[in-house]
Structure formats: C-alpha cells, structure tokens
C-alpha cells in the first residue's frame, strides 16, 4: 500500500493541527514547515474540512483547527479520505488475455501483495491520532 502525496500531506496536516488543538493553522504555515505547495495543501485541507476532521475558521488569523476525536480517529480514517483502500492489490502485468501459466503467476504474486496490504491496513487501523502524537513526542525526546 503506497500512500499518495495528498494522503501524506493530509496526515501531516491532521497531526499538526491535532498537536495544537487550540490553535488555528494556516495552509501556508503547514506548507512551509513541510516544504510543500500551499495551493496543493489547500485542496487537501478542504477535503479534511468536508470530512469534519478539521474545521476552517474565517476572519483575521483564520485557518484550520482540529475538529476530530484524536483518541478515536485512526490513520486509516484519514487515509481512506484520499485513497481507495478497498481496491485489490494491482498486478504489474498489463491487462490482456493470458495463458493459464501466466495467470497462475499473477495470482500467486497478487496473493503475496494482498498479504502485505492486509498487514499495512491493520497497522493503519490500529493507530489513533492520539497514539501517533505520543509517538511523535517519543521520537523527539
């Protein structure tokens, strides 16, 4: 399971805002910190706001504020907003009619890729934003 850029930007934004729930962060502020385009990030934040993970605050000093439940919101909840996680692991081969030997190879490879995917999903589902913030603290220490 390879995360798209948007998903990573969303995770940065959620973790940044959840670690300062009282503050309003602007897209520019987060973008500068992670060296990403503010324009790109604004779209990501818009999706997060629609899902009520963050809320946008208007006016002077406006921006985005964390609006979720950090103890219950998981990494998977955020990832699912940006990725189609239910899609089966894709085979590397192009779509065309194949001999049965080839199909066996593809199926066997797909089984292994699906195994990896399942482990990744279980990991993302089991880590809440609160747990992630604790991990961030430990990594800082």
């Amino acid at each position: 399971m390879k995360l798209q850029k948007n998903t990573l930007f969303a995770l940065y934004s959620v973790l940044e805002s959840a670690s300062h729930p009282e503050r309003q962060l602007s897209a520019g502020e987060i973008a500068r910190k992670y060296g990403i385009s503010p324009h790109h990030l604004a779209k990501v934040l818009h999706t997060l706001a629609q899902a009520r993970v963050v809320e946008s605050v208007r006016g002077v000093g406006g921006g985005y504020r964390f609006a979720g439940n950090a103890k219950r919101l998981t990494l998977m909840d955020v990832i699912e907003l940006f990725e189609n996680v239910s899609a089966p692991a894709r085979s590397a081969a192009p779509r065309r009619r194949r001999a049965s030997g080839e199909a066996g190879v593809e199926r066997a490879l797909a089984t292994v890729l699906a195994e990896i995917d399942e482990i990744a999903k279980a990991t993302f589902r089991s880590i809440s934003i609160a747990t992630m913030l604790k991990l961030v603290e430990r990594r800082r220490a």
Partner: protein, 162 residues
Amino acid sequence: MNAAAPAPAAAVRVRNVQAGDLGDVAAIDLEITRVPKPEYWAEIYHRYGTGRRQQRFFLVAEAAGRIEGFVIGEVRDWEFGSPRCGWVFAINVRPKARLAGIGSRLLGAICEGFRHLGVIKVRTLLGRDNQLILSFFRSQGMMAAPFIPLEIDLEPQGTDGK
C-alpha cells in the same frame, strides 16, 4: 445500556489471582468469547496462578469485591530464538468496565513484574482483525516486533497430501 459508570482506575486494586476469582474470570471470558471453557481456566490457574513459578503471571483487577479484568503472561527464554522477554498472552476487561484505565493498570502491573525479573522487552501476538486490542496495545506504545507470524493448513491424516 447499564447506567452504572465504570469504576475509576484509582478505585481498582491489581493483585495476584486467587482460586476464588476463577468464576469471575471465566465469566468475563465467556462474555467476550461466548465459548464456555471451565477446564481451560482451571488449567490456566494451575499453570499461571498458583505462584509456583516466579516468571508466570496471572493478575486480576478488583473493584468493590468484583473482578473487572485480568492479564496473563510469562517471561520466556529463547522463545522463537529471541533472548529473555515478557509475553502477554491474554488481557481482558469486563465490557462495562472498559475505558476507565483498567486495561492500562493491568498491563502496567504485569510489565512491572517482568521488570523485577530483569526483563526489558515485552511482546504479544494479536489477531490482525482485532482492532480494539491492537489499538489498546498501540496506545501503550507497542510497535511491530521483528517477527512475522506464519501458518499452514495441514492435510488431514490419512490423505496423500503432497
């Protein structure tokens, strides 16, 4: 839904299991797994609860005279080729007593027991689809161990499985 709020963790005492607790322990397990297994619990008590082996732990959380949860584990040497470490085999909290810190207290207590025996690594093995227990252990700071659990279906005896 029961209106009674769970006992706060502070009102809970964590101690070694006693024979008289087994009924409550089995009832908690039954409430969660829906499979009655009295012989199993008698056997687990015999192996882990009688205090005959210093490195085995069977602890219970008691509040107002009732058992609200338990944890079972053991220190093992060179299991799966790894140096001495503590294993948590089971942790369960009565559904109505959850989210009040009892699970954390039980895990903290067994880890303290492991630490007394000089252990500095604690492991457990969990069902990948059991998000609740995975989230709990993750919240306690546990990370993936450098192992991959594997399994195979064996052909039933008498078949020519090649």
